[in-house]
């Protein structure tokens, strides 16, 4: 049962109100009750948050929960357990399940299962096209009614420009977010890592930066005509970031997101053929990493996401070109973003929370991302100073496929409160 919780003495950061001050936060039941002086009242439960950051619950708008179809890799239950352990109070799940989330009953299944087994909020993202085949429009309107918050064929881009235009127009009718996995398959081919000197040396087929950029450029033209809200998933190349920056300046409603690995790793990591460095888009060059960081700094990149993509050891323990793409990220994202962005002073905490909570909530059109009184009591309490080592063996996700095992990091979520209920509490 939810009760009143007083979070005392923390550094409360709320980008939606431009708040960054040490004060108190009172939650009453499932709602935020008060911030500051008005919050100093008795409560059923008091959390001492000295030297902690108190933020609106983190929202990861790019997650693969694998259910239905691949429950051996992850389920809605284990994926959301990993989410709350990483400080996320909500995740948006991609539709490349088996079968794909391409109709209203699939969307309802996810919402029902999440309500029953989930540890945090789950927002389904519906497929743009039937079976994610890129040919016929899926029942977008019915999925909106069932609760889909955005639409994407993530895992694949919509290759056909005509289909893509119609999908944008259709999604625009409901003012939902159109999320594109930007990869031109005719250029990417069977590529399994970034196309460059390293792939040439390793003899692995490459995915050129061009494969991403050509679709971003095409989509910007389409989005301008369709008037849709267009969002580039897991952006990874300098060229694509520059295009989004220019599109924003030109008034196109275009946004983008980036993953921790594209801020911290380069294609050189593939040198040992370790499949935990294989994901899509692939790890790019040093110059692309610099461009991603610059994009977060100047706002060309709006959101920080994980692209949490669980695969079992038996899936990943294959030859590099045969292994599946993707890595898990929910339980490592916050410290990795701190390492990539806060420690080198690229952005401040206000902007970090904005990119991990307030912006995703706004783009998805969902509650959250704010601590305004009366809003849902989704709160993440972060210890920004704790030093620890990432240990894949400790994770709550059903899968262990992370390239960051053993990394020494600083900062982590300590308490995750969803709807006024403490769903995760590290060592307390």
């Amino acid at each position: 049962m939810s009760q009143s919780i007083l979070i005392r003495g923390g550094r409360v950061i709320d980008p939606s109100q431009q708040i960054d001050e040490v004060t108190d936060l009172l939650l009453a039941g499932a709602r935020v009750d008060a911030i500051g002086k008005n919050a100093r009242r008795s409560a059923d439960c008091v959390i001492d948050a000295h030297d902690r950051i108190v933020a609106p619950g983190l929202i990861d708008m790019h997650v693969h929960l694998r259910e239905p179809g691949h429950e051996g890799k992850e389920t809605i239950e284990t994926g959301t357990a990993a989410a709350v352990a990483g400080g996320f109070t909500a995740v948006a799940c991609m539709p490349n399940t088996s079968p794909a989330l391409d109709n209203d009953s699939q969307v309802e299944f996810v919402l029902r299962t999440a309500a029953r087994n989930g540890h945090c909020r789950v927002y389904p993202i519906g497929a743009l096209t039937k079976g994610r085949q890129g040919k016929e429009l899926a029942e977008i309107g019915l999925m909106v009614r069932a609760g889909a918050v955005a639409f994407s064929d993530d895992g694949d881009g919509v290759m056909d420009a005509g289909v893509c235009l119609r999908a944008m127009q259709y999604v625009g009718m409901f003012d939902r977010l159109f999320i594109q996995h930007c990869e031109d398959k005719s250029i990417a081919g069977k590529g399994c890592m970034h196309a460059g000197v390293v792939s040439t040396r390793l003899g692995l087929p490459g995915i050129p930066a061009l494969a991403e950029e050509i679709m971003v450029q095409r989509d910007i033209l389409l989005a301008r005509g369709a008037g849709a809200r267009y969002h580039v998933a897991h952006i990874s190349t300098r060229g694509a970031i520059e295009m989004i920056r220019a599109a924003k300046q030109a008034g196109v409603r275009a946004t983008s997101e980036v993953c921790p690995h594209h801020l911290l790793l380069t294609d050189e990591a593939c040198e040992t053929y370790d499949t935990n460095f294989k994901m899509n888009p692939p790890l790019r060059t040093r110059d692309d990493v610099a461009a991603c960081i610059e994009g977060v700094r100047d706002g060309a990149i709006d959101c920080l996401v994980t692209d949490h993509a669980p695969h079992g050891a038996q899936d990943k323990e294959h030859e590099f070109q045969d292994a599946p793409m993707g890595i898990i990220g929910l339980e490592t994202a916050l410290p990795l973003f701190i390492k990539a962005l806060i420690e080198p002073r690229v952005i401040d905490w206000l902007r970090l929370i904005d990119a991990m909570s307030t912006r995703p909530a706004a783009l998805l059109g969902v509650n959250g991302g704010t601590l305004k009184p009366g809003t849902p009591a989704d709160v993440t309490i972060i210890n920004p100073a704790i030093d620890w080592a990432i240990d894949a063996g400790e994770m709550r996700s059903r899968s262990r496929n992370t390239p960051f095992d053993g990394w020494k990091v600083r900062g982590r979520a300590e308490t995750t409160i969803v709807d006024g209920v403490v769903r995760y509490n590290a060592g307390r």
């Binding site: 196309a195 460059g196 000197v197 792939s199 040439t200 040396r201 390793l202 003899g203 692995l204 087929p205 040992t272 053929y273 038996q314 323990e317 294959h318 030859e319 590099f320 070109q321 045969d322």
Partner: protein, 316 residues
């Protein structure tokens, strides 16, 4: 510290995975060791007891009669027990992973695995997970170290040196493990490497690996001491990376007319099997400058040296 700057203190590697990880001194050591084994093939009894009691398995997941035979013969001449496990299906098709297959074979008491596999890095993958020696007999488009070693051996034998030579490698560089391994070995031993082919088959990234890239074969031919012609794979002919075989032959084939542009003592190489009339005219393949059969003979000595050195390092 780069491998090249390390002082050579004898062979310590139990695996032969790629020339990329070998120092110049290590490469020369294999070549010198192979010199000693060359003589074995000329004896009436063509075996030495070096690997007696050892079990060598050839694991070929891709068709290659001559490489497999060369390895098997090399192991037999060293008195090893040789078994063959060959399967054309990939592990994913079969449902058993390469690693599981290898662990099963290793459990039967195998000392060395000679692996040919369609996936780049497959031999790295195995060498990290299992205990016995792994010899890479070709992994995808990544590496074919013993082929490169026998190419280097043949060049040194015919030219007396490698340093300072102009070497052209011609054809499908993009999909060639032979080209990649040759490039690594040649550059480490001081040769100047020119890669020749259409842009669809010669990635510019090779320039950053120390090579010159050109698309004009006839223009560079007169400079060359060695011309290594790669096989045109039949699957490339149908995959639209060049318009037609006829055009390819005109632009990048080595025929009698093209040989006229070469130095009289040019060494013409080919890793085999030759598409006669495509990359090489039959008369050129059989001509006085061709070292194709010599490469095959030398391959045996190189593979004996490789098996010998790796097994010794494993036993030490």
């Amino acid at each position: 510290m780069t491998p090249d700057s390390r002082e050579f203190r004898g062979w310590t590697r139990k695996h032969m995975l790629s020339l990329g990880e070998l120092s110049r001194e290590e490469i020369l050591h294999v070549l010198d060791t192979a010199e000693g084994f060359k003589e074995v093939s000329t004896r009436s009894i063509k075996t030495v007891p070096t690997l007696r009691g050892r079990v060598v398995v050839t694991m070929f997941f891709e068709e290659s009669t001559r490489t497999k035979m060369s390895f098997m013969l090399a192991a037999q001449r060293l008195s090893a027990d040789v078994i063959d496990f060959s399967e054309k299906m990939s592990s994913t098709q079969k449902g058993e992973s390469l690693l599981d297959t290898a662990r099963n074979i290793e459990a039967m008491g195998v000392d060395m695995m000679i692996l040919r596999h369609p996936a780049a890095g497959a031999s790295y993958h195995l060498s990290r997970q299992i205990g016995c020696c792994v010899i890479n007999a070709g992994d995808g488009t990544h590496a074919h170290p013993t082929q490169a070693l026998l190419d280097l051996f043949t060049i040194r034998e015919k030219k007396g040196r490698i340093e300072g030579l102009n070497v052209a490698i011609v054809g499908d560089i993009a999909h060639s493990r032979v080209a990649r391994s040759d490039v690594q070995g040649l550059i480490k031993l001081g040769a100047k490497v020119t890669l020749v082919g259409p842009p669809t088959l010669v990635p510019r990234a090779f320039e950053q690996l120390g090579c010159r890239v050109t698309h004009d074969f006839r223009r560079v031919l007169p400079e060359m001491d060695v011309v290594n012609m790669l096989r045109v794979q039949s699957e490339r002919i149908t995959s639209n990376v060049f318009p037609s075989t006829r055009e390819y032959v005109r632009l990048f084939g080595l025929d009698d007319e093209a040989v006229q542009l070469c130095r009289p003592d040019v060494l013409i190489m080919h890793p085999g099997p030759v598409n006669r009339g495509i990359e090489l005219a039959a008369t050129v393949a059989d001509g006085p400058n061709s070292s194709i059969l010599r490469q095959v003979t030398n391959g045996l000595a190189i593979r004996m040296a490789t098996l010998f050195l790796c097994q010794q390092a494993a036993a030490a």
